[in-house]
């Protein structure tokens, strides 16, 4: 008992330290709901959670209203709805507040685990219309993107995309992660997180205003594509679901053939509606996703055609033996297995891309300290040059059989079992459905303990559980890439 007490004290100290560092922390019982609701800026109190908090959706809703950062400045503010809200209800969705939206957690036909496995074996359709779609163009577009991100956006081929991060001036901290697609010579489409909407818009407004004040009001045109829906079709059957729906009239087959649309590329294509006509607008179809599976993200315009998102969704769900709706619960477990970060949990403004194991997003031609002008370049480039200066690094961990280590669980070095030392914190973790329930987690550990194979431990409900640093992802990514 006495050793337990010592450990308990250790937790409290660590909690206080984490709070001052503004690290993401949650109670032991953090849930996908709670995790996705909160932003990095909120330091969650370390409270134990009972079933009541988990089981009652109304309770979750009221907590969410208090926590949501964007629209919900007061608990009375209503949640936004995506264009597919009614369709979710018709499919028996369990709706939860997420980033200011009322979003589906899962649907009546499949449990969380079943929906997860369905995505890995067949195809799932996710409504991600809550995410923020931007259009940026003008002679200053490239310069602006080269200031706010470390990506070589000027080297992107037309209709190709890259994962990137918006970076804070000075610190190089991650304001948000995003996917940037080059649509033309000086025209870009990019998608940012719903949970960071307010912060991203404030950040981008300030950067764009500053650029315009130097280069003229017409140097940059920036538009939020607020009327667009966005759905993600993910899984090994995604292409076979989408291909027959592509409208081939008046379009060369080289364009309509999805087998030549590779990971990270996009095309504008029409679908064929059940009556044989083409969709009112072409859809921007990007071969990408956030599950580790092959798949597409489909941006759907709605001007003059408000029912287009529903029409497209119903088309994609025509054969329920192949494709089904999936919600936030499956999305979270799928992305974690794929080693992908969830903003506000695995990455925050407290981390730079190198600390977050995202150093690869820094373009090769952007690593010269003399010419690199992106926000935080001096910090980030010195970390890339001397990785040992990074205090804590994001790693994957597998945890021994037993309870999973979830967000907020402490990572311990138990090389001296009598004197466990706190060396990090878990930022995401769950029993992996694809790995038969094996416990996987990502988190930050001190420099030097980040190497694969390092034996560490995590603390779950005051019990110490063995954990090992492992490479990510846990599942093999199945992106559709061009033949070598």
């Amino acid at each position: 008992m006495s050793s337990v007490r010592i450990l308990t004290r250790g937790v409290d100290l660590a909690a206080a330290r984490a709070a001052t560092l503004n690290l993401p922390r949650a109670s032991i019982g953090s849930t996908v709901l709670r995790r996705e609701l909160s932003s990095a800026a909120i330091v969650r109190p370390t409270v134990r959670r009972s079933l009541k908090a988990n089981a009652l959706v109304t309770d979750v809703a009221s907590r969410a209203a208090n926590q949501a950062v964007r629209y919900a400045s007061s608990s009375s503010e209503p949640l936004s709805k995506t264009q597919l809200y009614d369709l979710h209800l018709e499919h028996g969705a369990k709706m939860v507040p997420f980033a200011g939206f009322d979003m589906p957690l899962q649907y009546a036909d499949l449990s969380h685990v079943e929906s997860h496995m369905w995505t890995r074996e067949k195809a799932s359709l996710f409504d991600v219309s809550h995410m923020v779609q931007h259009q940026l163009s003008g002679p200053g577009a490239i310069d602006l993107l080269k200031k706010v991100t470390p990506s070589s956006v000027d080297k992107l081929a037309p209709n190709s995309s890259t994962l990137s991060c918006l970076l804070e001036e000075g610190t190089g901290g991650i304001v948000d992660d995003c996917v940037i697609t080059r649509r033309g010579e000086d025209s870009f489409y990019f998608v940012t997180n719903a949970g960071r909407r307010a912060e991203d818009l404030a950040f981008l407004s300030a950067e764009i205003d500053a650029y315009r004040s130097k280069h003229g009001a017409d140097s940059i045109k920036w538009e939020i594509l607020a009327d667009r829906a966005l759905v993600a079709l993910q899984g090994p059957l995604a292409a076979s679901v989408l291909q027959p729906l592509i409208n081939t009239a008046n379009t060369p087959s080289s364009e309509t053939d999805l087998s030549t649309l590779y990971f990270g590329n996009c095309r504008e294509l029409y679908l064929t509606l059940p009556d044989g006509s083409a969709t009112a607008h072409p859809l921007l179809i990007s071969r990408t996703g956030y599950t580790g599976e092959d798949g597409f993200e489909i941006s759907i315009p709605t001007s003059g055609a408000p029912s287009l998102p529903r029409q497209v969704t119903e088309l994609l769900l025509t054969d329920s033996s192949k494709s089904r709706l999936a919600g936030l619960a499956a999305r979270d477990s799928l992305r974690l297995e794929a080693g992908m970060c969830l903003y506000g949990h695995d990455i925050t403004t407290a981390q730079t891309p190198p600390a977050a194991a995202l150093g690869w997003i820094v373009g090769r031609d952007r690593r010269d300290p003399v010419s690199a002008t992106f926000n935080g370049a001096s910090v980030i480039l010195s970390q890339l040059a001397s990785p040992k200066t990074i205090p804590q690094r994001r790693v994957g961990l597998t945890v021994e059989k037993g309870p999973p280590a979830r967000e907020g669980a402490l990572v311990l070095d138990i090389s001296d079992p009598a004197n466990p030392v706190e060396v990090g914190v878990i930022t995401s973790g769950l029993p992996s459905p694809s790995l038969g329930g094996a416990n996987i987690a990502m988190g930050y550990v001190n420099q030097g303990l980040h190497k694969k194979g390092t034996e560490l431990a995590v603390k779950v409900r005051n019990k110490v559980r063995k954990a090992t640093v492992v490479g990510m992802p846990w599942i093999t990514s199945k992106f559709h890439r061009p033949p070598q």
Binding site: G29, S50, K52, A55, V57, S111, P403, S434, T476
Partner: protein
């Protein structure tokens, strides 16, 4: 690749093929009890089952000295696939409102709070290997702890079935 696929398939089929066990204690989440007592109560004098607002149930055994504790059908249904249950240690002294175990689904972890004070006799070892029993029979075979009740009168303050149903319908 193939090893991953092999690991996936048996798990998925197991999950999908599992049907809820037919049990006297099984209550479908949609079912509304038309009455305040349970049909299987054989000896109304000694068998008492009460509920908490935090979705635990406690049922006194004959004699009123010991009781089983678990989570309600509603809670089990809301949690979804239970993947791990933390059982209490034997002889653990517990205070009403303090954790007597924990239930984890893929997406969340929840403490199970003891409705009354007492001492743990045993945890339900069935759950060590088959956590999903909680989903199949949360108020029957999926009980979590058996305790020696310190004072059976503590149950009087808990919710009866009708009152509990009201809290979840509200």
């Amino acid at each position: 690749m193939s090893s991953v696929a092999r690991a996936i398939r048996p798990f998925a089929s197991r999950v999908i093929s599992q049907k809820p066990l037919a049990s006297a204690c099984q209550v479908s989440p949609a079912f509304r009890f038309p009455r305040g007592t349970r049909s299987f109560s054989q000896s109304p004098l000694s068998q008492v089952k009460k509920y908490t607002e935090s979705h635990e149930w406690i049922e006194l055994a004959e004699g009123g000295k010991t009781a089983k504790i678990g989570i309600t059908d509603y809670a089990a249904h809301s949690l979804g696939d239970v993947v791990y249950v933390e059982l209490p240690e034997v002889d653990l002294e517990i205070v009403a409102g303090e954790p007597v175990g924990a239930v984890e689904s893929v997406k969340s972890a929840s403490d199970v709070l003891s409705p009354v004070s007492g001492k743990v006799i045993k945890g339900n070892s069935v759950l060590e290997d088959k956590a999903k029993t909680i989903n199949e029979s949360p108020e029957g075979e999926g009980w979590i702890a058996e305790i020696e009740v310190a004072d059976a009168a503590e149950l009087d303050a808990l919710l009866d079935e009708a009152a509990y149903k009201e809290t979840i319908d509200a």
